[in-house]
Symmetry: D2
Subunit: 429 residues, 4 copies
């Protein structure tokens, strides 16, 4: 296995990585502290796995790719867990059917918590005992540890977005965060298009620092001059689109999106909006509240994003344009650590390219020139999904701050709405 390509030599010490691991693992449990036992098992659609499954799968990741490979006399915690909690790594075995994850009342939450703590102990033992292995193996072990830790962070976000799909479709609208977030609403940021003159640009991650294989290698790309908005689209703006019959006018829509609308497989509002007796509400992780007009619109499909852009006589940015435009912004914003669990109003002077919601781009998710997937089963991590999806950039209010990068490529299918997904407009000159 050649995972070490994803980790530079200056990655920091084993101790630093172990601390990182320990804090991330703890954070995952912390995110579950307000859940009832019943909440851990529900899978309201195939894409939205139960919290319990996320807790177990991220643990299995360390078992399958770290402990099983590098630990002497490795014994799995449970002989069936390799089958139950493998997501899609066919090279290590046929996984349990994805859409049935919500049907597993056993193992219980308690058993999975035991699985987590026992596995954590084994990982700590392995890392604290690294002196016994050669340098190359040591490097490999730390690389996998890092990948697993990043992987756990991805699942922190998924765990909460999947839970939101559960809660947001329950007629009782339970809140994940007990207290209501009081969003401080300022004067709305005025829409403004920044001019970029384009040119030859280096896209993607270089050899330094951690990055996923799909961000590499750094390569040149030519960008024509373009305009890009200083802010993401707000609920107020999106509501104008709705009130201007945006969902009824085919000329704004891609053919696939229009077909979904005709088949009633796409509703005529963002995923968590609810129209109750003529008044718009939005379900957020702190509960169901009247729609806050100045907050960014979120949970929209790429079809809705593109229809809105067409209605605005604009378009989505490409991922290259986005990466170029983000270059002078600091990577800061409304991330998981803020604890808001919802996008906040974009405000003046803020680096609003990061956090809040993932931003749809018009770029298909495909390989960069010179792309090489990781060796072995981890090669299935990203590469095999490079069809029919679009790239999203910037992270969301559920993304851990340390996890995101300027070159980070998230990817979802155009109809997907259940992640925190918003949009920023761009234009040709």
């Amino acid at each position: 296995m050649q995972v070490s390509r994803s980790l530079p030599s200056d990655q920091g010490s084993a101790t630093e990585l172990l601390n990182y691991f320990v804090s991330v693992r703890a954070k995952t449990l912390d995110l579950c502290s307000s859940l009832e036992v019943e909440d851990f098992g529900v899978q309201p659609m195939a894409d939205a796995s139960p919290p319990k499954w996320h807790l177990a799968h991220t643990t299995w990741f360390f078992e399958a790719f770290l402990l099983k490979v590098f630990k002497e006399n490795f014994q799995p915690f449970h002989e069936s867990f390799g089958y139950l909690f493998n997501s899609y790594y066919i090279r290590v075995g046929q996984p349990f059917p994805r859409s049935d994850r919500g049907n597993l009342s056993r193992p219980t939450v308690r058993e999975i918590m035991d699985y987590r703590s026992e596995t954590d102990g084994k990982v700590i033992d392995l890392i604290t005992d690294l002196g016994r292995v050669d340098q190359e193996t040591r490097q490999e072990i730390l690389s996998v540890l890092r990948v697993g830790t990043e992987h756990e962070q991805q699942h922190q976000e998924l765990l909460i977005t999947d839970l939101k799909y559960n809660f947001g479709n329950n007629p009782l609208y339970p809140a994940y965060r007990a207290d209501k977030v009081e969003h401080l609403i300022e004067d709305p940021l005025e829409q403004d298009y920044e001019f970029h003159e384009g040119g030859l640009f280096e896209l993607g991650a270089g050899d330094d620092g951690f990055a996923f294989d799909n961000e590499r290698p750094k390569h040149r790309t030519y960008i024509e001059p373009f305009l890009i908005s200083n802010k993401t689209v707000t609920n107020r703006e999106f509501l104008q689109f709705i009130e201007d019959d945006g969902y009824k006018r085919h000329e704004f829509w891609l053919s696939e999106g229009w077909a979904l609308l005709q088949q009633k497989r796409l509703e005529t509002h963002p995923l968590y909006w609810r129209n109750i007796e003529g008044v718009w509400f939005e379900y957020r992780l702190d509960g169901l509240f009247p729609l806050a007009l100045e907050l960014p619109v979120t949970h929209i499909s790429a079809y809705e994003a593109m229809a809105f852009a067409n209605w605005s006589q604009a378009r989505l940015p490409t991922e290259a344009e986005w990466e170029l435009a983000s270059a002078k912004r600091v990577i800061a914003g409304n991330f998981l650590e803020k604890g808001l669990f919802h996008p906040k109003q974009p405000s003046l002077g803020e680096a609003n390219f990061f956090g809040n919601s993932w931003e749809w781009t018009s770029s298909a998710y495909s390989q960069y020139p010179g792309f090489r997937p990781l060796d072995g089963a981890l090669g299935e991590y990203n590469g095999k999904f490079m069809s029919s999806q679009l790239v999203l950039r910037g992270g969301s209010c559920l993304t851990p701050e340390r996890h995101i990068r300027r070159t980070y490529r998230n990817f979802f299918y155009p109809p997907d709405q259940w992640q925190f997904t918003g949009l920023r407009l761009a234009k040709d000159i």
Copy 2:
């Protein structure tokens, strides 16, 4: 509402009915005592509702049809429960979609237990205070109480069979009953066909005693002479059918069943049989064990039952034949109270028409001549399902003994397997 038709005047006192209610309600909880919190929420297929839902739905039944109608100043326990826990009574409102019952992590089990106990209290109050109402209303109230109590018993069976579908499809094969049932296996009962000369026969329930509307009225039917087996089919016999290529020979199968087999929507063995490296096992509620050959075959569809019968150069009995043949048997057998939770070997001299497994008949579930559904919303209880289903008779190892009758008509679709369903052979002369 005219439910009192289902209850004769000699039904016993309010006290007796109340005691019946209380003991049945307690039994339901007792049946759940070995479950983990996680087990209460799972719906592994649309037909198999979560235990939690059964606990709430049977409670709602008393709320909607008893308390709401007869209690002064009635306040529902929770304003959404009428929507969430209505099964299919459209007259009282649009029900929550059936296939989404497993997506409700809230209300929690604890909240539903509160719902049960608070509702029980209200019912007890109503019944103990009957002196204040007129005789006719009193009769109505007791009738609905009885119907609700019988309804709860039906759901006791469903709760456990639905749970079995959950456990039996979990790769961990959890046991519902912690200790293994040691079945005492005797010499197998020899197959023997009883001769019945037929003739004019009164089918169905008379006016005395409780019965569901679908069992009424008693009416005459003519039965040609027939033979009926003294026993139900065993695993050993069914295995012979399999080994004689029974699932591969179209000539035994109804066209619909054969189509399911070709589409792989019906497996080539009873629902809970598993072939592990060439050895047959059966998942039972006490765990996964090697197939016990002398036990009755159970969890088969009507298509499998009919294919087996054709292979045996026999046929299924009609429901009239079954009812006639059962006439000299006492209603006793392996019911819920035995606590086996699985059919046991049919033995000599035993009234094996009752208990163990529901027996498929060849009779379509349709109305008897002169059928009148209950008035009001309870008219939806049975009548609106009289299409495309078959009648099953005799009760199962999960049916409460007091609940069953000789005239009792259960009904399922021909492909259904998840109930305890077996077969008994019959023949023309």
Copy 3:
């Protein structure tokens, strides 16, 4: 093969049967005389086979069951036709997929006409040369000839009803019969319920004369007293049901029918009704015309028939009631030979139990006591479809008069609408 059971010894001479065969085969072609080449190939839904397929399949029937079995040195007309034109007789081979019949542009209509005439010649040769075979074989041959001739008559009806589904769903609404049928409309027959006292009754076909296996054996059945209407339901009456919100009131509907309505898989009017700017039209085989109110309603599903009956505070008759009530009627009416191709107004004194539309009964299609399917592959003709369907009685305006019998059992699924299907009301006393 033991088909001779279906044919009595007094069936008439070989010459008579051969004349029957020749005239039926000619009638089939005659029914196609107004078709364009393009019309022969279309299969607008899986159930509605292309006319070309019917022409070939009925021919194959004689090849597979008569010529192949009884003709020396038999050579099939084309080696692939046994595969292409077998409908569902698995015993003689795997049939071509039903839903793909409309995808066969080849063989051409001309080739199939050649297939018909060459096969007819071979059949005539076989029958005119019967002197060379023994008496038993002779009897077998004539039996199969008769079954094949009856089979061809069934497909005459299907060919035209399938074609109607094609034409009736084409926005151009082509007419099958070029000239408009001028229905003579009289004063409507007043609804009247005949009383039948019931009792023990012999149902089904005896040993004399031709009948299908599913009509046999004659057996006793007990019928409770009942009322049955003197006429079938008219468009005027059905329109009243619609205008009284019949399709919107769940209380009239079986659960399965209601579900189809909610899913928009059943429209809220009979199959060929069209509401054009507020005016009701009906597509008939002579074209699209304003709805003729005094004609019988036709092309309704069993769900619609039962909902109408419930709305009328009546019910469908059972097949036994229908057969008993028809006993004093002569078998005459609006059959294929009339050339109307549509039901006509039921009129006083007319034996309106026969012809016009098949009448839905409430009886599930199942085997009579003592049922024995034909031996061999022809045993698949009727028996294997005995699940989930209902019996219809009486024939339609497309049924050949000689083909129908008082005991004739047609069968379709409750949602089916594309046959000429109507209803007659019955009531309990």
Copy 4:
């Protein structure tokens, strides 16, 4: 409407364009000369429209976008044809459902031929009478005439590939071309990778000459150095992939493709290969023949193309790489005019980038920077399909030679196989 953007001022005279129109219209009919009437109506899958529909739709295109807009006192040929033969231009009205095109036995082929000739006459009248209109309108008219003529050429290819899907799935395997094509097989061209140093490159069509809106505008793109094969993949090479278990080894497959294989929705060979008793055959438009190993593989999905490329330790080219590599080739090859109707062996020195089969690229079909769809309903021609599809380049053996361009972008979904689709390998340096 501003279609004239797609047509430069030096497009040639009205006479030249009219001659072009007349010859293309005649060619379409010529392509149908070997068809039976029955062949014109069949739609074996939703994507494969009946020949009759293509003949009518291309005619409607001239009616809807040319005659209706520019002809005085325009009367449609038939009032329903605007509904029946609109494909997907919602702006001019709701089209007839695509998947039902094969259900229209009427209008007949003869009627559609009348529709064609009458419409052709009207177009000729309009063009020969152009002196009466102003210069701008004249330009508009000629632009639409040109677009319609190009559109007709696209449908020539589709008509034959759709027909191939019909014939190739008919067990009789009819031939479209009566005589067998004798392919002259030479020594196979040796695989060789050309080196391209990349750099800044102008992609897309400039303002001169006809091009579709999706090829414009010409824009700069940066291409990293790459290798591209001198030839497309042959059947021999693809057979090696199969024999090396290429369809069974998940590591070569995108996740979506692998899922299709597991669900048996993708077969384990190119679309028209047939394995008959261990020998590979291929259905071609001249009939079913043993697989010719030196011919190019064709009718493969993008998933198969990418799996083959991975197995070859190569990849698909991007569309930019393909366009750059094709720059020094003349546009010549095996096009429709050759009359082979099948790819031929790629041979030395030949410009094999064009003709034979469309070549899958790895590039998602999306808009070029600065893309502007045509105005009006013709804006729906290309732009609204820019999601989830891939670009294919180079034309096929069914593409008219005059229709293709170096910048031409065809687009299909990754699973599509029914077009002539092959692949050429590329590599990173």
